[in-house]
């Protein structure tokens, strides 16, 4: 069996994984690093539930060969969740009931985090555009937009 070894920073920790050559970042996270917050949805790049950050940019883990993250910085939902607490986005999703089945939530939160890191005070339209690659089949999206707007407001944003 051939294998490749890939070293990268995973949620702030130097990590080395040895996997079969075509392994995706998604499989590596879930089955090799035992980080299961990142979800496998369509595995075709159509649903966004596997969204993680690579060097701060939203990235579809299902379409990323692990080999591509050699030397890069990968952040998953586990990486932004404080021990024993919640990230402001997680708290806002909870308060707004922005998750029903919850399957899309990790991808939604990572896509939203990428937006807020770049643009702390987005408009509702900018939030919708940033989340346009993430499907939710439960909520109808409005509570999700509300939750991200709440955090944008906590960031000291305008009245919106």
């Amino acid at each position: 069996m051939s294998a490749i070894t890939v070293s990268f920073t995973l949620n702030g920790r130097a990590t080395t994984l040895t996997v079969s050559p075509a392994t995706t970042l998604l499989t590596a996270l879930r089955e090799h690093a035992q980080l299961t917050a990142t979800k496998a949805g369509c595995s075709q790049g159509g649903c966004g539930s596997c969204t993680v950050l690579v060097n701060g940019e939203p990235t579809l883990a299902c379409l990323t060969p692990l080999a591509h993250v050699e030397g890069q910085e990968v952040t998953t939902l586990e990486g932004i969740t404080p021990v024993g607490g919640l990230h402001p986005l997680q708290k806002a999703f909870y308060d707004r009931f922005a998750a029903q089945c919850g399957y899309c939530t990790p991808g939604m939160i990572m896509a939203a985090k990428a937006l807020l890191d770049r643009n702390p005070h987005p408009t509702r339209e900018e939030i919708a555009a940033a989340l346009s690659g993430n499907l939710c089949r439960c909520t109808g999206y409005l509570p999700i937009l509300d939750a991200v707007e709440d955090v944008a407001r906590q960031n000291g944003g305008g009245e919106r």
Binding site: S2, S20, P21, Q44, G48, L60, S132, G133
Partner: protein
């Protein structure tokens, strides 16, 4: 069968060596959005994978009114770092933000219909594609590249860059989807029109997406425009002519029949947009 190797060459020279050494055994990708989804979907079982992501072909340069765009430039970068009409519009409408961070201009030329909007924009812009093999590079018009199908690229060649002139006329981009974002097109039209002082069309390029196996030029529609003013009857004639010779794909979003009906619609909308804008130079 699982892949035996993943090659991540650090230069095009290294990539070309690997391609020559392993031939048909190696499947080439860049962002991974097409190849990895085909692997995930059980449609592709490569012996070897080679990614051009680190092969040094991600430069983006503007010189003498032309853009030289490395094959590994992502859709996100096209949307934010170029100001070419049609191409920035196509790039900004591709998938969602995460997909745009991965999908590349070179890779998108190999998308199967109905995907491949970047190629549609590039074709209307009269772009050329650079193909590189060990002995050197050659440049072919993108229209020929698409028209020749699998024969367009020799087995030992890689797509390394696109050369895109800035259009001199007016442009319109119309993409019809079942929803506004992150969906394959039902039909796409990219149009470049040049008009003289009397408002007559002197040149027209219309490229269609989701109308056949690859992006294609609507030559009969273009012929219906040249020499004519951009009025309602000319637009209608061109819109109807655009559907001639199209063989749109069927997928879960739209049937071939439905796409065929929508081709005149997107062309009509694109031409009407241009007609409604003030003619250039007046």
């Amino acid at each position: 069968m699982t892949a035996e190797a993943f090659h991540l060459p650090r230069s095009i020279a290294e990539a070309l060596d690997l391609l020559r050494e392993h031939g048909d055994d190696v499947v080439v990708m860049t962002g991974g959005t097409l190849v990895m989804s085909a692997i995930n979907g059980g449609q592709l079982f490569p012996r070897r994978l080679m990614s051009l992501k680190r092969a040094g072909i991600d430069q983006l340069r503007a010189e003498n009114g032309r853009f030289e765009i490395g094959a590994a430039v992502t859709a996100s970068r096209l949307a934010s770092e170029t100001d070419l009409p049609l191409l920035t519009q196509a790039a900004a409408g591709l998938g969602g933000p995460a997909l745009r961070n991965q999908a590349t201009i070179g890779g998108n030329l190999f998308a199967h219909a109905p995907y491949g909007d970047l190629g549609v924009a590039l074709m209307a812009l009269d772009a050329e594609v650079e193909l590189t093999r060990k002995e050197g590079a050659r440049t072919v018009p993108l229209a020929d590249f698409f028209a020749n199908g699998a024969a367009a690229r020799r087995p030992d060649e890689l797509v390394t860059a696109l050369r895109v002139p800035r259009p001199s006329g007016e442009t319109a981009w119309v993409r019809l989807g079942r929803r506004q974002a992150a969906t394959a097109p039902v039909a796409t039209a990219a149009v470049v029109i040049e008009r003289d002082a009397d408002g007559r069309c002197t040149a027209a390029r219309i490229a269609l997406g989701a109308a056949g196996p690859a992006p294609m030029r609507a030559r009969e529609a273009e012929a219906a425009l040249v020499g004519q003013p951009l009025d309602e009857s000319t637009i209608e004639a061109a819109a109807q002519a655009a559907a001639i010779g199209c063989e749109p794909p069927t997928d879960a979003l739209a049937s071939s029949w439905y796409r065929q009906q929508m081709i005149p619609v997107v062309v009509r909308r694109a031409l009407s947009q241009i007609a409604a804008a003030a003619p250039a130079g007046r």
